[in-house]
């Protein structure tokens, strides 16, 4: 413990962060999130790569992604497109196979996780830093952003949506008793091998996928750290939240309740 700073620093310099960005119709958002990520990583000095997994978006997201690759370089923006819309879970699996980092960030490409925003007023650090620092602090297997704790929160939600969100969260906490406060959040940092193992085990899609991955993490005794984040509703593009979403959430919750 005496020479603590030295190995820490050498480990820092060897660490590489892969950001997985699954996209479906994110033509407007993708350049912006990539810009923010590049800006952050350049400033912080961490080694990184951004892997874009586009499922043949009809709006031409892939075309924009190619332009971004030309601007930032093939080593920084990696394209792993697929021929059709095959869903989020398999998109992550597909992306991990190409990842060269030892840590993996997962986030939505729709700017709902504002990576540069300094969340805690006390330390004014961007979220990416906070997640990375949290991970190092406890050598956690995964660090999850949470909207439900501390300074975490949301923007652009009306009372109805807040009520649904809090109600669903309470129900989930009561039934599943997970060791994380935000199960459906999708801004997380994983050790690469941990994410590989977890994704192999998960079968569900969308919201439920994020939930299942946390539950499986507990089953496999992985350690979980949490960082409060603010969630800003998408500015561009269609939201996919509807009645359908709630039904699939309920189904997924019951399935996990009965099987895990």
């Amino acid at each position: 413990m005496t020479s603590r700073t030295t190995p820490q620093q050498s480990r820092d310099s060897r660490d590489k962060y892969t950001v997985l960005l699954p996209t479906y119709n994110e033509r407007e958002n993708l350049p912006l999130i990539v810009w923010l990520l590049v800006k952050y990583f350049n400033k912080s000095g961490y080694d990184y790569e951004i892997i874009v997994i586009d499922d043949a978006s009809p709006d031409g997201t892939l075309d924009v992604a190619k332009q971004l690759q030309e601007i930032y370089g093939k080593d920084k923006v990696v394209l792993r497109p697929r021929a059709s819309k095959l869903g989020l879970g398999t998109a992550y699996l597909h992306g991990i196979k190409q990842a060269t980092g030892n840590f993996i960030f997962i986030m939505d490409a729709d700017l709902s996780h504002h990576v540069m925003h300094p969340c805690c007023m006390s330390n004014h650090k961007p979220y990416l830093s906070l997640l990375i620092r949290k991970q190092k602090e406890g050598n956690y297997d995964l660090v999850s952003g949470t909207r439900y704790r501390g300074s975490g929160g949301v923007y652009g939600w009306d009372l109805r949506r807040k009520l649904i969100s809090r109600g669903a969260n309470f129900l989930t906490q009561t039934l599943l008793r997970p060791n994380a406060s935000d199960l459906t959040g999708s801004f997380r940092l994983y050790k690469k091998e941990v994410l590989e193992t977890l994704v192999e085990k998960c079968m569900s899609k969308g919201y439920v996928f994020q939930m299942e991955i946390i539950i499986r993490a507990r089953q496999l005794k992985y350690t979980i750290g949490e960082v409060p984040i603010s969630f800003v509703d998408r500015v561009y593009g269609e939201s996919k939240l509807g009645g359908n979403e709630i039904v699939s959430f309920a189904k997924g919750l019951l399935l996990l309740f009965a099987t895990t």
Binding site: W35, Q67, I71, G153, V154, L163, Q219, S230, V235
Partner: protein
């Protein structure tokens, strides 16, 4: 066959033990699902309740015990409901509105668009 505390016991007894002691179950590597845990807890409470409310063991419990025990399930349900509503209501009321995050995001979006245009991106 296995030995626990010097006792030999067969497969059937072992699985019976696992039902009575879910802790053992985890130790055996068998996972008890959350549904099973709930059913286990609820049936345990139900048994205790039935034993007291109807004095099934003929313990000659004082009548007051039985009177208190009988409406207990309803009380428990109602208090749990109130507790849930209070917690959810409080959490909705104290859900942070991240005004500042959104303002900052819009600022960064503008900056990003200008810079990307300069770098030759066709939106």
């Amino acid at each position: 066959e296995k030995t626990v505390g010097g006792l030999m016991y067969g497969k059937r007894l072992s699985s019976l033990l696992q039902v009575v002691f879910p802790g053992e179950l985890a130790a055996e590597g068998v996972i008890m699902t959350k549904l099973m845990q709930w059913l286990f807890g609820v049936s345990l409470l139900a048994v205790v309740w039935a034993l007291t409310a109807y004095d099934l063991l003929d313990l000659n419990l004082p009548q007051t015990y039985r009177d208190v025990a009988w409406p207990m399930p309803a009380y428990l349900l109602v208090s749990f409901g109130c507790y849930s509503l209070a917690v959810i209501g409080y959490r909705v009321a104290t859900f942070n509105d991240c005004e500042e995050a959104s303002r900052e995001l819009r600022m960064h979006i503008k900056e990003a668009r200008e810079d990307l245009r300069k770098k030759g991106l066709r939106f």
